[in-house]
Symmetry: C2
Subunit: 198 residues, 2 copies
C-alpha cells in the first residue's frame, strides 16, 4: 500500500505509524490532515517536536520529565520529603498529581523489570532510588498492576525492607463507578482480599 | 488537564490533538512516545512535516496531490482521457487506484457542497472541471454516499447533462463480504433498487 504514495507523503505516514495506536489508515488520515494545516501551523508543529525533544529531560533527582535540572515537584519546598512514591513513568506521576491528594515526592523508574524484553533492574532507575532514602520513612510502590509491575514492586520492596523503610503498595480493587459484572476475576479476588470494615 | 503539563510538552500535545481522531489522552500518549524517539528520529519527523507541506501541492489539472506541476495520473499517456472520475479528495483517488480497474482520469473537488459549513459550489474545483471537458465522453461522479456527497453529485450532474456528456454514479449496494443483517436500510433499499440480472 505505502509504495504507491508520493515520497513526501509516505515519509510522513511512516513517522505517524511509529506513534502508539496508529495503524496505516490512521497514519494516512493524519498525514492528509497535516496537508490541510497552514504553512505556519505545520512549521509550529515541527518546531514543537524539536523543542520538546531538546528541552524535556529527566529530573536529576527523581527522573520525572522537566525542562530544567530538577522537576517542579522535587523543587517544591512544600512537598513532604519523607515519602517517595515509585512509579513506572512520568505519565503515572501526572495521573497521581491530578488527584491532588499525594504530597510526597516521586521516583520514576523508567519502566519495569521485564526479562522478556531484556530489561533487568540495572536498566531501571533503582540505584538512584536507593541513593536518596536518607530521611525517607515510607516508599509507596505504585507500579502498574501488571505482571511486570508486580515483579518490579516485589523486587524493590525486597531491597527496601532490610533498610527498615515502610514499604506500601497502592490498593487494588473494583474501580469506582465500575460494574462488578465487568470486573475480571483477579481484580475481584483482590477486592475481596483487600476488603475493609465500613 | 493541559495546564499542568510542561510548556514544551503541552505545545506538542496541542498539535497532536488537532489531528483527526486524536483526543487529549491519545495526544499525550503520542507526545510521550515522541520523547522516546532519538534526536535524529525526532528531527526526521519534523523535517517530514515541513517537507510534505512544502512539496505536496495540488495537480494543476485535476487537483490530486502531487510533488510537481501535474500528478502521475494526469501525466500518464496510457490513461483514457475520455473519462473523468470526480471525487471529493485525494484519498478517494488513492482508494480507487488501488483497485487497478479504472483507467481514466480524475478530478478532485476538494470537498462537497455543504451549506451548513458555508461551502458552496464556488468553494469547490467545479469550474476547473467544466473547463476540461473537451474530448470527454463520460464523467463518473464518485463522491461519498453521504447527504453532502449526494447533493454535490446532483449539482454536478445537472451542470453536465445539458452538455451532452454521459454522467454516471458509482453503484450503491451491500458491501462485498458484508452481512445483510448488519446493512442499514438505506443501503438495502439501494441494493434492491439497483439489482441486476445474473
Amino acid at each position: 500500500m505505502a509504495e504507491e504514495y508520493l515520497p513526501a507523503l509516505e515519509a510522513l505516514v511512516l513517522h505517524f505509524k511509529r506513534l502508539p495506536g496508529i495503524g496505516p489508515k490512521s497514519a494516512l488520515r493524519m498525514a492528509f490532515a497535516l496537508l490541510d494545516f497552514t504553512n505556519e501551523e505545520a512549521q509550529d508543529f515541527a518546531s514543537a517536536i524539536i523543542n520538546a525533544k531538546e528541552n524535556i529531560v529527566p529530573c536529576e533527582i527523581c527522573g520525572h520529565i522537566c525542562e530544567g535540572a530538577r522537576c517542579d515537584i522535587c523543587g517544591d519546598d512544600r512537598r513532604d520529603r519523607s515519602v517517595i512514591c515509585v512509579v513506572e513513568d512520568s505519565r503515572a506521576v501526572m495521573a497521581l498529581e491530578k488527584v491532588r491528594e499525594y504530597k510526597g515526592l516521586y521516583h520514576v523508574l523508567g519502566g519495569t523489570i521485564s526479562p522478556m524484553d531484556g530489561i533487568g533492574p540495572d536498566e531501571l532507575n533503582i540505584k538512584t532510588l536507593l541513593a536518596r532514602l536518607d530521611g525517607v520513612d515510607e516508599v509507596i510502590i505504585a507500579t502498574n498492576p501488571t505482571i511486570e509491575g508486580e515483579t518490579t514492586a516485589m523486587y524493590i520492596s525486597k531491597l527496601l525492607k532490610p533498610l527498615g523503610i515502610k514499604t506500601t503498595r497502592l490498593a487494588y480493587g473494583v474501580p469506582v463507578g465500575g460494574d462488578l459484572e465487568y470486573s475480571d476475576e483477579v481484580t475481584l479476588f483482590r477486592a475481596i482480599e483487600g476488603r475493609r470494615d465500613i
